[in-house]
Amino acid sequence: MTQKVKVAITVNGTLYEREVEPRLLLSDFIRHDLGLKGTHVGCEHGLCGACTVLIDGQTARSCTLFAVMVDGSDIKTVESLGTLENMHPIQEAFSEVHALQCGFCTPGFLMTTVEFLEGNPNPTAEEAREAIDGNFCRCTGYENIVKAVQLAAKKMAAH
């Protein structure tokens, strides 16, 4: 049998202590071991950004990391933002300006936006576009996502 390794990973504020195979991808750990299905896998080679999560506050592609590599880390996924009844301002902004269609890539964009707006709370359109350049979206043509990032900044400033 494959050797298993103990990990202790905090996800969205809850500490999970699990035994995992060394080769288990972080994205699979989050999705299938923890059942947090909001993190999506689009390419499994680190290009599309759908699986983006925050690891100790910084964005990372969970499909190109092993779960054992983030032992002891603090991870935030899309489930850490708002709820159905009480969405986060970034989520509200995405809905208001139609910045999502199929919604599959959206969690990655949201987590990228969280990190970006922390560092730049009042971005220009050009800065917002550059910030999301590493996330792929097939449905929207990106224009409304750029708008959503800027609108989210305004909403967060008003909060």
């Binding site: 288990l24 999705r31 299938h32 299905k37 199929c102 890539c105 576009r129």
Partner: protein, 784 residues
């Protein structure tokens, strides 16, 4: 008795957004069932080979592997097909050799990526481990991939039982090309190539199957764009009744065409295995497998000619083109027929000859990708006009203006039969408006007179492109739905149409809410669940909002009538004195005298007493809608680009599009569809490209190699104008819009690149280029 429109035509936030934004949607890979096993598919690394032996013993022996299947293990269950789209027998003289997909290769491999074995294991990781242990003993056969050489007498045969690799030959002619040539002052000829692109949905394909032998119920969750046809196909294969197969679409992460394809290994073999093993199964592609194992499109080579008078009047067009269908042709002639119907569709062309030579190659099967044959036709026509403009020394906009169809020309019979097997009829349109609005929006004259010369004086190369397009949408045969007012007063709309992000949970709700006096958020829309609604065709040809939307409208009218009739009895008031608003039926003059929709729904299902003959319970009605022919959207696209001749890099400085999709149901959603289409069209023109090497290997099977268009590749703004020529075919006047943006960008951009350089000998003959190709075109035209 239809209510006025309160919600149709409004940009309303989407009902589906909160669940998608908060991680509360269920996509295919989010479904996990107790006891579920995982599947990985062994795919051929060879493009063309005879199978001697597939050795799966080592794979079977791997701990955690439950079973491995090859074609031989399927016994009599193995059989090719069926065709998903019937042959074009309605077209006189059409030749079509049907070679439907083989769900898993049995004796011969015909493309790299074709399935050869299926592994079932306790985890996906183990299943993938086992793939590496399968040994494939084959005799390699020569590969054929070139569209023209595939028809050479000595070309290797993809299907040995055929005389050649010709898959189909369809000739259609309206008027007489010979006559056009006889009267012409000028004939321009071009050889034009349209390369292959991927659908590229961010979510890959997948299927989850659960066989309950006690209930005799096979539940299938699948990412298909055509749930009912897939349900029927599975039922036929497995010898089940339709209601014994429940096909459910989970949330789907984009479709763009390829997810329409069924009768593949996923829906043919995996349900069969689930019944053999009596265990739930899951298969989800990874991205590499999506490139290798999911269908793609374009790939045509055109020999096109245009005959004109000296004054620029177009007399005729001739287009003979090779269409690559890949190793099989399960999707019939849909794509190349769309090319035939979308070639001359913006212009007065009295004589049009068009011939499809569909060929088999050792490549992935071709089925529609957003645009689906339309971009090829538009590319050919717009490039011919550009060539003619150069030849005649005319301005490209002026030559287009001179030949456009006029509003009084509609409805126009085209004489060309389309993918729906109906003669094309352009239902309505105002093409000159679209052209003029676009030219005005992009300031065409100002660009030509001031901006371009000034830029050139500064050593900058800026160019403009102006193109037209039509988008045949909303073809038949039909779609349907069921609308019901529930006992809570909320409304349910149930359809088997499939949703991949098009906002149906909102737009269908808008249509129903208008007639039933409820809020859009109080309408719950179910899509793609054959257990709740059993009939339909599928999401293709931009037909959802027109066909299902019309069915929802008609069903809602019936429910409205039922509610008013019942309320009339209960309130003892004639129907014409009642109004339905805010979730209640009230007496117009006595607002305190009312009954809620929920109460009416409860009373519509009496539990004691007797009913009148013919009574139908429930505030519920079904409706089907099938148009006589499609509704044609149209528009005009212009771009200003900046070309760096030293590197071949480009920047789209401005993009202006005018689109007409009749009555928009939700303008915000319409614009979103246009945005996404434009992105795919721009991607096709300058970034994306599926490339096979000389041995039939797809060398662009990852996002490292297949350049997915990113935010920085798009213009800062898509400047969109609309006109609203309502379709006369349906009560709301709707036309589709899903493919509009994707059609014209390649033609528009090539024209703009040439205009930027201003070189007499530069003419781009391909729809997909890149910086190095552009650089080479420039160098060649300079004679360097």
């Amino acid at each position: 008795m239809a209510e006025k429109q309160k919600f149709v035509g409004q940009s309303i936030k989407r009902n589906e957004d909160p669940r998608l934004l908060t991680g509360n949607s269920t996509f295919i890979d989010d479904i996990n069932l107790p006891g579920m096993l995982h599947i990985a598919i062994k795919r051929s690394d060879f493009a063309h080979a005879k199978i001697n032996k597939i050795d799966v013993e080592k794979a079977k022996a791997l701990p955690g592997v439950v079973a491995v299947y090859t074609a031989d293990d399927l016994g009599d269950y193995w059989k090719p097909g069926p065709l998903q789209v019937p042959p074009p027998s309605v077209i006189k003289g059409a030749i079509f050799f049907a070679r439907p997909l083989e769900c898993i290769a049995k004796n011969k491999i015909r493309f790299s990526g074709e399935p050869v074995a299926v592994v079932v294991a306790e985890s996906r990781y183990i299943a993938e481990d086992a793939l590496d242990l399968i040994e494939l003993d084959v005799e390699l056969l020569p590969y054929v991939g070139d569209l023209e050489k595939t028809l050479a007498p000595d070309a290797p045969l993809v299907h040995e039982d055929l005389e050649s690799n010709l898959a189909a030959d369809v000739i259609q002619e309206a008027g007489s090309w010979e006559k056009a040539v006889a009267e012409a002052d000028v004939v321009v000829k071009k050889r034009l190539l349209v390369n292959r692109v991927a659908g590229g949905a961010l979510e890959n394909r997948g299927i989850v199957v659960n066989w309950d032998q006690n209930l005799n119920l096979l539940t299938v969750w699948a990412t298909t764009q055509g749930p009912i046809p897939m349900r029927n196909s599975i039922a036929k294969y497995l010898g089940l009744l339709e209601n014994q197969v429940r096909l459910i679409n989970p949330a789907i992460g984009g479709g763009f065409g390829p997810k329409i394809m069924s009768s593949q290994i996923d829906d043919v073999v995996i349900p069969w295995i689930a019944m053999q093993l009596k265990r739930p199964l899951k298969w989800v592609e990874d991205r590499r497998e999506n490139f290798l194992g999911t269908t793609s499109e374009r790939d045509q080579l055109h020999y096109a000619e245009m005959a004109l008078k000296k004054d620029g009047t177009i007399l005729g067009v001739k287009d003979v083109f090779y269409h690559n269908t890949g190793a099989y042709n399960p999707y019939g002639m849909t794509v190349p027929l769309n090319t035939q119907t979308h070639t001359v569709s913006n212009y007065r062309v009295p004589n049009f000859f068009t011939e499809i030579k569909m060929v088999f190659t050792n490549q992935m099967v071709v089925t529609p990708v957003r645009g689906a044959g339309r971009p090829q036709g538009v590319f050919v026509m717009e490039r011919l006009i550009d060539a003619a403009a150069k030849e005649l020394g005319m301005d490209p906009a002026e030559l287009r203006r001179k030949n456009l169809l006029q509003p009084e020309d509609f409805p126009l019979r085209t004489g060309i039969i389309g993918q729906d097997f109906v003669e094309g009829i352009l239902d309505s349109g105002n093409y000159p408006y679209a052209l003029e609005k676009t030219l005005e929006g992009i300031e065409y004259e100002k660009f030509k007179q001031e901006i371009q010369p000034k830029a050139r004086a500064e050593g900058k190369y800026k160019g403009i492109g102006i193109t037209m397009f039509t988008e045949g949408t909303a073809v038949g045969p039909y779609e349907g739905c069921k609308v019901m007012v529930g006992v809570t007063g909320k409304v349910s709309v149930i359809t088997a149409y499939s949703n991949q992000g098009q906002a149906h949970y909102t737009t269908f709700a808008q249509v129903a809410a208008d007639q039933l006096g409820v809020k859009v958020t109080d309408v719950d829309v179910v899509t793609g669940d054959s257990g709740q609604w059993s009939w339909g065709v599928g999401a293709f040809a931009s037909r959802g909002i027109t066909l299902v939307g019309t069915a929802v409208h008609n069903a809602s009218l019936k429910v409205r009538e039922k509610a008013l009739n019942l309320a009339s009895k209960l309130l003892e008031t004639p129907v014409d004195e009642l109004e339905l608003e805010d979730g209640v039926v009230r007496v117009a003059d006595m607002p305190e005298k009312f009954i809620t929709l929920g109460e009416l729904a409860m009373r519509s299902n009496p539990t004691r007493g007797t009913v009148e003959p013919g009574m139908e319970p429930g505030l519920e009605a079904a409706s089907y809608y099938g148009p006589p022919h499609g509704a044609t959207g149209f528009g005009s696209l212009a771009m200003i680009v900046d070309v760096d001749p030293e590197t071949g890099m480009i920047k789209i400085e401005r993009l202006v599009i005018t689109d007409d999709c009749g009555q928009p149901v939700n303008p915000m959603v319409v614009d979103g569809q246009i945005h996404g289409g434009l992105q795919m069209g721009i991607g096709e023109a300058f970034y994306e490209n599926l490339v096979y090497d000389d041995y039939g290997q797809l060398v662009t099977a990852s996002f490292m190699d297949y350049l997915f268009p990113q935010a920085s590749d798009m213009p800062d703004k898509f400047e969109i104008y609309h006109s609203h020529t309502k379709s006369p075919l349906n009560p709301l006047g709707i036309k589709g819009v899903g493919e509009a943006g994707a059609i014209a960008p390649p033609a528009c951009m090539m024209q703009a690149f040439e205009d930027a350089m201003g070189l007499d000998d530069m003419f781009i003959t391909e729809s997909s280029i890149n910086p190095s190709k552009l650089y080479n075109y420039i160098q060649k035209a300079k004679g360097a």
